[in-house]
Symmetry: C2
Subunit: 209 residues, 2 copies
DNA sequence: ACCTGAACACCGTTCAAGT
DNA sequence: ACCTGAACACCGTTCAAGT
């Protein structure tokens, strides 16, 4: 991964094409919000013939599925890292939600790919549910501790988690689409929505003005 | 729209090709959750040459944009119709949320198209915000009346609306992806999440168990 | 004014041939 | 074992020619 593509380094056999293809594709996804993801273009950028990637991925879908898989890993790491320095359960939920939105806004094409229909339905289709299990589990864990600590209302964890997840997922996608900066809202609408979410969760809400 | 394609009915000039193209495309979107939407296939099904649609739409994107536009119209109608028989503001919000989810689950490819990056960014890109204004306005209206009636907490309407919208949008997309029917949840997770949403909104929550 | 059919550039995928 | 290059089927888009 360190040594870059010098003409002498890749005479005929690339040697690390699988990784190169993934990295190139990932870069294209990062810059191209614009869904013109082409396998031939990936090969072109990687400096190999258009047939070469087929030795490492059975088809285009498989490559995209792999990118999505890595995306879920990254998201999971981002979520885990976000709550590291949170000093209250309430702030953990706030941090995790913000991290999810930030991840989506920072990688819009990837986030869409992860939850898109193309890769979502077929290859990763059966797996999409288990791919998102860590995220669910992460939320459930926060909520359970919140309930045990007497901070959150004691409702069914799965339902509570589903509500939180939907809220965060929706905020992320609306943010990606640039649909949240409304007319003249002073505060960050994402944080406002998350605070609102907490308000429904918490037993004792902060002084309602 | 009534008379169907009989061989004698379309000797050379179709006569109503624009509408036929839209209807065919719409049908394909309805059956094909699977994003293989092809302009040539549309022409094929409509029984015209693959070049014909270009007399009515400058390109593929434009056709998709038109489908998305109609989709937002339908969604708006579905939302308006959903609250017609609601006998409380609380139930209005519940009905609207359920209607949105139902619309998305009923027309997954269309819903994705409406909020997708392809048509969403370019052609309809500048318009996506205004396309969704009616939905926002619809929510704001419910919330304002709720606040005035003393049912909902008095927070900034835009923030409250954003939170509701994100919740509903997220629930819709997660439902489309089949990600909400968790392990062994008895109740409908969508309704559970919406009830949870209301709990954060309402001034006096129902007896918290 | 509206539609057809050939034409062009480009893709995904396959495969015999090269190294 | 891994990569190349021709080949095939298919798309989006254009355009001269038909009606």
């Amino acid at each position: 991964m360190d040594r870059m593509k010098t003409p002498t380094d890749r005479p005929y056999h690339h040697g690390d094409l699988r990784r190169a293809v993934i990295e190139t594709a990932s870069a294209m996804l990062r810059e191209d919000n614009n869904w013109q993801f082409t396998l031939r273009e990936v090969a072109r950028r990687a400096g190999v013939s258009h047939g070469a990637p087929y030795k490492h991925f059975p088809d285009k879908e498989s490559l995209l599925a792999e990118l999505a898989r890595q995306g879920f890993e990254q998201l999971q790491e981002a979520l885990a890292a976000s709550t590291a320095r949170s000093r209250s359960i309430r702030k953990e939920l706030l941090a995790a939600g913000t991290a999810n939105v930030r991840f989506g806004v920072g990688n819009p094409a990837l986030y869409r790919l992860m939850f898109g229909s193309g890769t979502g339905s077929r290859t990763a289709g059966v797996h999409l549910r288990e791919r998102t299990l860590p995220t669910r589990g992460f939320l459930v864990d926060i909520l359970r501790r919140g309930q045990e600590a007497g901070v959150f209302k004691k409702h069914a964890l799965q339902g509570q988690a589903a509500a939180c997840w939907a809220q965060v997922h929706g905020l992320t996608l609306l943010s990606i689409d640039g649909l949240l900066m409304a007319e003249k809202v002073g505060a960050d609408p994402v944080e406002a929505a998350l605070v609102h979410l907490l308000e429904g969760l918490e037993l004792a809400g902060p002084a309602k003005r």
